[in-house]
């Protein structure tokens, strides 16, 4: 019984260890690729010379600034923004009434609508392309 009593605070102290380790691992996994990509754009040390000694050398915004001087940068950014904006507006205009209608009038169709919404993510774009190519042949 005494052994049980003394083991308890120890167990409580390590109770969060497992979850915290998982969180830490997830954090590293999620952020490491982003950090390495940022390094790629902000540091001018060539890849073959990269190690712990050179890690803090030659950090510069020059590479990023050069992007803005690129001839086609602004038109490209503009097109991307317009594309994003247009799709958001059209999607909202279509989706809000549909979601409301389904929620209020056709609650039984909700699973089906949800299925239809995830369909484009999982029907392989390549298979769709094959279908279009088949129509054209």
């Amino acid at each position: 019984m005494a052994g049980h009593m003394s083991a308890r605070p120890l167990r409580a102290r390590f109770a969060r260890l497992g979850p915290n380790l998982v969180l830490l691992l997830a954090l590293v996994f999620r952020s490491a690729p982003l950090i390495s990509t940022a390094r790629q754009s902000l540091q001018t040390v060539p890849m073959p010379l990269l190690n712990w000694n050179t890690l803090f050398d030659k950090w510069t915004f020059a590479g990023v600034q050069r992007v803005f001087d690129e001839e086609n940068f602004w038109p490209t950014l503009r097109t991307s923004l317009e594309l994003a904006g247009a799709t958001v507006v059209i999607t909202l205009a279509l989706l809000v009434p549909t979601a409301l209608y389904v929620h209020l009038r056709l609650p039984r169709a909700r699973a089906l609508v949800e299925f239809l919404t995830v369909l484009p993510y999982v029907v392989p774009p390549v298979a769709l392309a094959a279908g279009v190519a088949a129509l054209n042949r």
Partner: protein
């Protein structure tokens, strides 16, 4: 985030000249590419990259179900003399099972049909979507049938997975109030 950008993120981290690869080799003396199984442009590399978009998707699919576990159920289980183990085996996991199985099917279909990411990692990848695209590009006269056959088979596999997902969603709705 997905596709080509994601592939590039991981090439800068775990490619042959990647930051992670180099720092681990330099700091810990462990050469990731000295092992025979890891390469960002082969199987376990693809697995690592796929995990990056699969994990958040699984969280999105299962989190509502986990939120839906009512504290009262746990209290009821305790009041009837159930241990933590009993609660999870008799109440928690049965309620979560449809969501989790549905998540597995959705993730399976998602990974199975991924094209841009794996193509950017290795244009010679031996996976179905890349083979279809390769076949289509070589199909100049419309005489090759293999890519169309592959695409049809793929749609059958995806349909089975998504049919299962739809059925499981129906079961999930039962436990999420409304």
């Amino acid at each position: 985030m997905g596709g080509v950008v994601l592939a590039f993120l991981f090439i800068t981290l775990l490619g042959r000249q990647g930051l992670g690869t180099k720092l681990v080799r330099d700091g810990l003396g462990f050469d990731l590419y000295g092992t025979s199984w890891f390469d960002i442009s082969s199987f376990w590399g693809w697995v690592t990259v796929y995990m990056y978009f699969q994990i958040p998707l699984m969280v999105l699919v299962t989190l509502p179900a986990i939120d839906g576990l009512k504290p009262e159920w746990r209290e009821a289980s305790s009041n009837l003399g159930g241990s933590t183990w009993t609660y999870w085996r008799r109440v928690g996991l049965p309620v979560l099972a449809p969501s989790m199985l549905g998540g597995f099917l959705l993730l399976f279909a998602n990974a199975f049909s991924t094209y841009a990411t794996v193509h950017a990692l290795n244009t010679q990848s031996n996976v179905v979507p890349v083979k279809i695209s390769f076949g289509l590009r070589n199909d100049v006269g419309g005489r090759i049938t293999a890519p169309y056959a592959l695409a049809t088979m793929m749609i059958v596999v995806i349909s089975v997975a998504m049919g299962g997902y739809l059925l499981l969603r129906r079961r999930v709705e039962r436990w999420q109030g409304t």
